[in-house]
Symmetry: C2
């Protein structure tokens, strides 16, 4: 089955100690759609400007991503610029130029409206609502978010949560949203806000799922070298949804393994700038790391 992915499509300029990487393909929808494409057909909704490089359209196409929902508007593509510290843990935003993203009004082509799996990747909660208003009887709806929306659009986000099957956020966002440091207390509170499944991402410590079958502690794939973690969270949830859309039977029977695939695709994302490494990844490479994680968790 196909996955509908709505989010940002951006150009990312990333500074790391000693290197600059201007105008890489980025954005939550780009990372999530490429990650999902290893498992299922991805249908992307986003917006780019007239400056959006042809080679990035070709990259989407190589991954078989359906671009019927990608708008091209007069103006500049969303441009984000950030700087990482030496340990790659702390990121500082240098510049955010919204460009055409400011006018983004996600419109779903008719054939996208019946997508069974819907991923509302990180964009403003109001836009996530707008997408949900257009889809018909989806099987599984997941949303991701970021700290910005907790700060500037919390009421919209709170109204979104009851509309979701699963909500994915990182540990610092969970602390901010629930005002608790305790993982179990935070999960319980977020369930009370609506979603049956809650996934809290913990960076290099992996992620935790809380759902009808209890907790699942999902490890991160340990890496010798982290080149650029930008997009790792988007890759995680994109691969998770791609895997779920390809699996037969109820979501509940597959979501744990789907998260492990998410961890693995996120690990490839971290090994290159932007989508550099992810786009070169092969399914056998992914399977190999999944087997390695199996080996690292058995006791």
């Amino acid at each position: 089955m196909s996955v509908l992915i709505v989010g940002s499509t951006a150009l990312d300029s990333i500074k790391t100690p000693g290197r600059e990487h201007p105008r890489l393909l980025g954005g939550s929808a780009s990372h999530a759609a490429v990650a999902a494409s290893f498992f299922s057909p991805a249908r992307m909704v986003g917006v780019v400007g007239t400056d959006f490089p042809r080679r990035y359209i070709q990259l989407y196409e190589r991954h078989g991503i359906d671009l019927a929902g990608l708008q091209r508007l007069p103006g500049k593509t969303f441009h984000w610029s950030g700087e990482y510290e030496a340990n790659m843990n702390n990121r500082r935003t240098l510049l955010t130029e919204l460009g055409v993203f400011e006018q983004f009004n996600p419109v779903l082509p008719a054939e996208f409206q019946r997508a069974p799996f819907v991923l509302l990747a990180n964009i403003a909660p109001a836009l996530q609502h707008h997408v949900l208003d257009q889809v018909r009887r989806p099987r599984f709806v997941v949303a991701d978010t970021m700290d910005l929306w907790l700060n500037v659009a919390l009421p919209d986000l709170m109204r979104l949560l009851p509309r979701l099957d699963a909500f994915v956020l990182n540990d610092s966002e969970a602390r901010q949203l629930t005002k608790t440091d305790n993982l179990l207390a935070a999960l319980r509170k977020i369930h009370q806000f609506g979603p049956r499944y809650v996934v809290i991402k913990q960076g290099s410590h992996g992620s935790v799922l809380s759902g009808p079958r209890g907790l699942f502690i999902c490890p991160a794939y340990p890496l010798r070298r982290v080149v650029d973690p930008t997009g790792a969270g988007d890759s995680f949830v994109g691969a998770m949804m791609g895997y779920l859309a390809a699996a037969k039977g109820p979501v509940d029977a597959h979501i744990r393994r789907a998260m492990v695939y998410g961890s693995v695709v996120a690990s490839f994302c971290c090994e290159g700038f932007g989508l550099e490494r992810t786009t070169k990844t092969t399914r056998p490479e992914i399977e190999k790391r999944v087997r390695e994680i199996e080996g690292m968790t058995k006791f």
Copy 2:
């Protein structure tokens, strides 16, 4: 088989927001020996002063701990006092009175010298050496440490590492020792210093083992409420050694499961002040949490 445990025996006064807990039983050897006692006979070497409460001797005795190596010297018992912040993550030392610990010269009773499993719990590396000089052909030697020894006794610690089968330390100590943030790079470096097994503890994120059978990612048992994490690391390694000493066959076949038992006993330790909760723990309670961790890691 029995486990020999050498470390500190102390009185801990712990302040948390709103409460004070004066002169609890503490010290690395106390926590480790009680944790080990759930699985194997523990033999403890330590030193206390004349002020050491009779009820704490009784506590050791209730756990069947062999106290033939516990010295009682004229003077005061090692007294540590610390304060936790509201989130229980940051600890501040208020006071350290070494007392009789300053003259601690661990002497192993004859029957302790042939202990097959030796745990050098956190004490000065020079004392850890002194203990190793007295044991005869142990099967498995593990040492724990703390940041203090990295700061003031690094050469002693570096000479200790080749004498160990396993070295256990926490993530910030690993960073300090290896000057790298990368977990895999840190593990590789520490192996080069000597030990075949390296365990890096990551607090509420669990721990990671690197050994002849590769990596093992060991989760922490998630807790609804952390009351006092003092001694959790000592409980972890104590339970791990107790479990290993009880298991038949090669260490390599059991060390992963031993770490899971370590995680579980550490979780009980965190649920009370000092040894309050640990000492009330039963083997069935431990087994129940081990099964729960199994359920939380399968995919």
